[in-house]
């Protein structure tokens, strides 16, 4: 879904929002401005038409009362009073000779009986052609009358109107963009707020809530819904904690009793076969216990428990000490341990869990990388993350099986024959995620390279 919409609009969110806002602005302002233009123009034309109508009435009244003489009187009046300074008037007889007016001759292309025609004509005594709106009349005497109005003004008005409207449109573009940016900023602020809380929740810190009051109506509703969801998640996690605690108790207590009884029985059983059988049971209890413990620890880490024990410690020192713990056993197995460590590396996290995760990875490297030459343990500073690398030169894991290998109980076929719970990688991943990081399995060519990413916590242990 989101992928498709992203393909349709290949821009980042802010640009997208600005463009959408701009499109809306144009969509609204262009028709409004066009309407304004049309109305103004129509109004202007109507005024010209009204003036021509009035003059036509006057002229025809003159004609009706006194024939051509009356008409000539009105024409002369118009010319004298300057009524036609901005207009045109011309009377010709049936043989097209000029009788009166301020235009030299009847334009050859002009027919009679037109109501409104725009033509450029030269007024008498002027070298400048003027655009007129003309009306022509056929008189009963056989003569023809032309009367017109200068519409140059309208052209000028049109031009400046268009200019003003385009100006308004140009002004609307930045306003649209700014409006878009402002809406975006408000939305973004709310989104960031939600995102921040969500990130903390994802890292297992359930104590945060959105402010329902300060967010405005719509965002307040979203905040309330999210808070209700958080309430529920917190409840579920608390339930999970109770369940794992009581499960731990209910499973461990009988195992403790079982062990007590086995040791008691071993005290009575003198013969070697009985002793061996009891010892085998004891070993299996230990194994069972390890699986239970690991499973519970993974579940707790996945639910974000363990943040309470975040502390400041030196990750560099930790990796050095793990290297030191494993060095002898690696060498005893005929392998070599190569250490690529940083110096001091202050970090905030759960030291015990990270130590356990790295020890699990080292155990795996020892178990499955036994035929290869060396095991590498390294720590790198990636800025936002710390990266712990454990790699071996063993058989590795095929790319398509890597995701599976990190799931709980998903031991790969070859590994089934060897001893182990199949929880090492799952535990390491849970620990990495508890620290806002992740676990990645890669090809070491040959062998397996495990990268444990741990996010730096911004020194934030204040509220736990």
């Amino acid at each position: 879904m989101s992928k498709r919409s992203r393909r349709l609009l290949p821009f980042s969110a802010p640009v997208r929002a600005a463009l959408v806002s701009l499109a809306f602005t144009l969509l609204i302002s262009v028709p409004v401005l066009a309407f304004v233009y049309h109305q103004t123009d129509t109004l202007f034309e109507q005024r010209i038409r009204d003036r021509i109508d009035t003059r036509e009435r006057n002229l025809l009244n003159g004609y009706r009362s006194d024939g051509t003489k009356g008409l000539l009187r009105v024409i002369q009046e118009e010319l004298d009073t300057g009524l036609v300074r901005n207009g045109a008037i011309l009377l010709v007889d049936s043989s097209n000779r000029k009788i009166a007016g301020n235009i030299a001759a009847w334009p050859p292309t002009l027919t009679t009986g037109t109501d409104w025609i725009e033509i450029r004509l030269y007024p008498e005594g002027s070298r400048q052609a003027v655009l007129y709106a003309l009306r022509t009349l056929q008189l009963p005497s056989g003569g023809r009358l032309l009367l017109g109005s200068n519409v140059e003004d309208r052209e000028r008005m049109r031009a400046s109107l268009l200019e003003a409207l385009i100006g308004a449109l140009l002004l609307a573009i930045p306003l649209g963009l700014i409006g878009g940016a402002m809406v975006l900023r408000v939305t973004e602020r709310h989104a960031r707020e939600v995102g921040k809380v969500a990130t903390r929740i994802a890292a297992g810190d359930f104590s945060h809530r959105l402010d329902e009051e300060a967010q405005g109506q719509e965002f307040g509703m979203i905040a309330a819904a999210i808070n209700a969801m958080l309430e529920r998640i917190e409840e579920l996690v608390e339930q999970l904690r109770l369940v794992t605690d009581s499960l731990a108790h209910d499973l461990r207590s009988p195992l403790t009793r079982m062990r007590a009884n086995i040791e008691k029985a071993a005290g009575y059983a003198a013969a070697e076969p009985e002793q061996q059988a009891l010892e085998a049971i004891s070993t299996d209890i230990d194994r069972l216990l390890r699986v239970i413990s690991a499973t519970l620890e993974i579940s707790r880490a996945e639910a974000g428990m363990g943040r309470q024990q975040f502390e400041n410690f030196d990750l560099g020192e930790m990796i050095r000490s793990i290297c030191e713990i494993y060095q002898p056993v690696v060498e005893q197995r005929g392998l070599s341990l190569e250490f690529q460590g940083a110096g001091d590396f202050p970090y905030v996290g759960n030291r015990q869990m990270i130590g356990r995760a790295v020890a699990n990875l080292m155990d795996n490297a020892l178990k499955y990388g036994a035929d290869g030459g060396s095991i590498e343990l390294g720590l790198r500073d990636l800025g936002e993350n710390a990266e712990i690398i454990v790699s071996d030169r063993g058989a590795g894991i095929p790319a398509e099986l890597r995701e599976d290998a990190m799931r709980k109980y998903r031991r790969l076929e070859e590994a089934r024959t060897t001893d182990g719970s199949g929880l090492g990688l799952a535990m390491a991943r849970a620990v990495a995620r508890l620290h806002g990081g992740d676990l990645a399995l890669e090809d070491n060519q040959p062998g397996l390279r495990v990268r444990l990413l741990l996010r730096r916590q911004d020194g934030n242990i204040a509220d736990v």
Binding site: R259, E279, I325
Partner: protein
């Protein structure tokens, strides 16, 4: 020194298991089956150590522990818990326990830890020692020199701490988990035999070429430094 131990545990099988084991090892054991009773005993008697279950009827184990400490009683306390996660351990230690042992445990592990706690004693009474020894093995804590007889032994820093732990608990069993906790400060059970390899290296350094080995393996439990096998 008093050899009286208080065991506060509601599960009768476990309580009997612990009590029998301790009695066989020469301790006198008092038993309490709930938190209230346990607290009453703790404030009353003069115990060498208290073994306290984490989950008790009536009063939570950690609440009992806090009450004991609030009353100014400094008796070493070792908490037994079915809550084995590392978080719970930290909670236990913060509440004032001296050690924390997840269930199920081997009795030998518990015994080793009780012995170690007794040896350590209350912090105030701990005298400042500058040297440790076992037979002809000597360790100078100031110059960090280790000698077997007249021969100087070269040990790495962690080996030094491992040997120091064994010397401080001379004649007592030190378990693998105790070593991992004390020397490296990790509280988990490594899947591989990492500790055994460290010990075999150390043993090579101090016992090789000697007629009387000092570092002994206690089968299924751990290691012990002592003169006679």
């Amino acid at each position: 020194m008093s050899k009286k131990i208080l065991v506060v545990e509601d599960d009768p099988t476990t309580a009997e298991y612990v009590a029998n084991g301790l009695e066989q090892n020469g301790f006198i054991v008092d038993r309490a089956s709930d938190g209230r009773d346990g607290l009453f005993h703790a404030t009353d008697g003069n115990y060498a150590a208290i073994v306290l279950d984490r989950m008790l009827p009536g009063m939570d184990g950690l609440a009992v522990l806090s009450a004991i400490r609030a009353a100014g009683i400094q008796t070493p306390v070792i908490v037994l818990s079915a809550l084995g996660s590392t978080d719970e351990r930290v909670k236990g230690l913060k509440a004032g326990s001296d050690d924390y042992l997840p269930k199920p445990f081997a009795f030998s592990e518990l015994l080793a830890r009780i012995e170690a706690l007794q040896r350590r004693g209350p912090a105030s009474a701990q005298e400042v020692t500058t040297s440790l020894s076992c037979a002809d093995l000597h360790m100078d804590l100031l110059t960090r020199r280790v000698e077997r007889g007249s021969l100087r032994i070269d040990v790495q820093p962690r080996e030094f701490r491992l040997l120091e732990l064994l010397l401080r608990n001379k004649g007592q069993v030190v378990t693998r988990t105790m070593m991992l906790e004390e020397v490296w400060d990790y509280h988990f059970d490594p899947g591989t035999n990492v500790i055994d390899v460290h010990i075999s290296r150390l043993r090579k350094k101090i016992d090789e070429g000697s007629d009387t080995p000092l570092l002994h393996t206690v089968r299924g439990v751990g290691y012990m430094l002592c003169e006679q096998a």
